[in-house]
């Protein structure tokens, strides 16, 4: 095996990591702030991707143009879900995680069903930016490069938002210490709702970009939710840089294992890695708190 091939596989792995990071973004936010595993995350990604595909089929509009609308719709929907559903669940910790998990799981079914009703079961893809940049002997898929760039950009923007804006700081305060934040006058409930809404919006934005890479139908939401979870678990609770690192690891592992072993084993690789990482480092690679 030549050095060029190895380099290409590595490159593919990094690009794949970018795709993972992108599909994990909104999830990271919700999990980090509220410790809610949003099993409906994948549904937001997929429905948004299908919307982009459908719009492209009908009107030949690039998914990038659909992105702001998808973001806004998902933001509103996420806010409604949190405000009217999640907030109604009992607050005791022991059952809270289980019930919010199950609630978002029920939501994922509902959204998958809604997607089937609206878009049908056919697989859709967006035949846009399907080519590659050829840099020397290397091929860099255009859509994947875009996804990689977008992931980096969005993560950076999110980090900035959380550091530098009052709203972002309120979110961080709430996730670090809810009672303390409340004592400082922050409306913890409202902040949580906006965090959930933001996470949903980001998931939708990712979906629009991912429509360029994946062929999807409404029932494929789980794939993205699991990917997102693996990324967060490996990278560490509450760390966005960790999530990027986690995504990179998953992407590289996926690429190497698929090449040197086979594709089937590569499918199990994310799970094995995440279990191993968590056993050794229970807080993930860069987690700030114990899981």
């Amino acid at each position: 095996m030549s050095a060029a091939t190895f380099a290409q596989i590595t490159l593919d792995g990094l690009l794949l990591g970018g795709v993972y990071a992108l599909s994990a973004l909104g999830f990271t936010m919700i999990f980090g702030v509220m410790r809610v595993v949003n099993l409906a995350h994948g549904s937001f990604v997929v429905l948004s991707a299908l919307l982009a595909a459908w719009t492209y089929e009908r009107y030949h509009l690039s998914p990038l143009l659909v992105l702001p609308a998808a973001f806004a719709l998902a933001y509103a929907l996420g806010a409604a879900i949190h405000r009217f559903l999640l907030r109604r669940l009992p607050a005791e910790v022991a059952s809270q995680e289980a019930t919010s998990l199950t609630l978002t799981f029920g939501l994922s079914y509902f959204l998958a069903g809604a997607g089937l009703a609206v878009f049908g079961g056919t697989f859709r893809a967006v035949p846009y930016l399907t080519g590659a940049f050829n840099v020397g002997p290397f091929a860099i898929g255009q859509a994947r490069l875009l996804a990689f760039g977008a992931a980096a950009l969005l993560t950076g923007a999110l980090a900035l938002f959380l550091r530098a804006t009052p709203a972002g700081r309120a979110i961080r305060a709430t996730s670090q210490h809810a009672e303390g934040a409340q004592a400082c006058g922050i409306d913890v409930d409202a902040v949580r709702t906006s965090a959930f809404a933001l996470g949903s919006g980001i998931a939708a934005a990712s979906g629009c970009l991912l429509s360029l890479i994946y062929t999807l139908n409404p029932e494929m939401g789980d794939v993205f939710t699991l990917n997102a979870f693996a990324v967060v678990a490996i990278g560490g609770l509450g760390s966005y840089a960790g999530a990027l690192a986690g995504a990179a690891i998953l992407g590289l592992a996926g690429s190497y294992v698929a090449y040197f072993a086979n594709a089937q084993i590569a499918e199990a690789a994310p799970y094995v890695i995440f279990i191993l990482v968590l056993l050794v480092l229970p807080a993930g690679l860069m987690g700030k708190r114990a899981a």
Binding site: V37, L89, E97, G106, Y109, G113, L116, Q264, V272
Partner: protein, 323 residues
């Protein structure tokens, strides 16, 4: 044994015997319906022990179901072993795998455990799909020599066993230890509860039951492939039924199992297109209206908490003495 307990046991035995005797008279369709309901209930009970009583919400108990199914399929294909013995072997192998798996996975907490178990299920599915011995992605074709009635009786027996074991746990010190570690594992540990032993034991029970059920399923389908053996649908069904009925309760899985089977059946027959939406919507609605499940909600309506008697002093219980 108190009179009340004796009566309850007698009633239980009667119901099971009735169901067993009714088997030959149900007719093909109703036999299939009751079998699949019993399968769902059995899986729900299996899930309930580790997730409900111990509080370790697992998304991957189907791992053991799949192990049971494949083991039974392989043994019946390659040896002349009676399928029931093969299914027992399947259950035994499931427990054998659960011991080390549990020791590892139970170190994870909360959603990490949940999704870690899911990962385990996926990993095993991939192993089954890539091994020649398990037939790879195609699976194992079995000859249709076992009647649905036989599978029904087997499943009834296992589901009854699952219920009985849960009843025993519910009234025992072991059950109390699980509840203690569910509420706050650290505190329970400092109070002297042997936390690791308790949760591993619960995990093994939660592996044995699906393991035994999987064997019957293999003989029922006559084609064991990775998606059916490690069926996400069955996993999710067990979870939803238990959560709806009342997670961590004795009657929850039964109530949930029976009610949700009927709702599912009706919904699917009438609204095949909108099924997912209605199902998901109902689940969300149930969680908002009865977040702890139907059985606890009904119990509190009908007046007062149920009291369970536990033998032994608190110290003896905490020290891990037998119930």
């Amino acid at each position: 044994m108190s009179a009340r307990l004796g009566l309850a046991v007698a009633l239980f035995v009667c119901v099971v015997a009735l169901l067993a005797a009714a088997g030959p008279f149900l007719g093909g369709y109703w036999l299939a319906v009751v079998y699949q309901t019993l399968l769902a209930i059995g899986l729900a009970y299996g899930w309930n022990v580790i997730s409900g009583y111990a509080g370790y919400f697992s998304f991957g108990q189907i791992t053991f179901f799949g192990i049971g199914a494949y083991t039974t399929a392989l043994l019946t294909s390659h040896t002349s072993l009676d399928w029931r013995l093969a299914a027992l072997a399947g259950g035994a192998l499931a427990v054998a795998v659960a011991a080390p798996a549990g020791a590892i996975m139970l170190r994870l907490r909360g959603p990490f455990f949940s999704l870690g178990m899911l990962g385990l299920a996926q990993t095993l599915r991939v192993v089954a799909a890539s091994s020649g011995i398990t037939g790879g992605g195609t699976g194992l074709y079995l000859s249709a020599t076992v009647t649905p009635l036989a599978v029904y009786e087997w499943t009834l027996a296992v589901a009854a066993l699952a219920f009985a074991v849960t009843a025993a746990i519910d009234r025992s010190a072991f059950g109390l230890r699980l509840c203690a570690l569910r509420e706050d594992e650290q505190v329970a540990g400092t109070l002297g509860v042997a936390v690791t032993a308790a949760k591993v034991r619960a995990f093994l029970i939660s592996a044995a039951i699906p393991g035994l059920l999987g064997g019957g399923y293999a003989m029922y389908l006559t084609l064991v492939d990775p998606p059916s053996a490690f069926s996400t649908r069955l996993e999710l069904q067990a979870i939803v039924m238990t959560v709806f009925g009342g997670i961590g309760t004795l009657w929850g899985p039964l109530v949930g199992g029976v009610v949700m089977s009927q709702i599912s059946e009706q919904l699917w027959a009438r609204f095949p297109q909108a099924y997912l939406m209605i199902f998901g919507g109902l689940l969300v609605a149930f969680l908002i209206i009865v977040p702890r499940g139907v059985v606890p909600a009904l119990a509190s309506r009908l007046g007062g908490p149920r009291r369970t008697r536990v033998n032994g002093t608190p110290a003896a219980v905490a020290a891990g003495g037998e119930p």
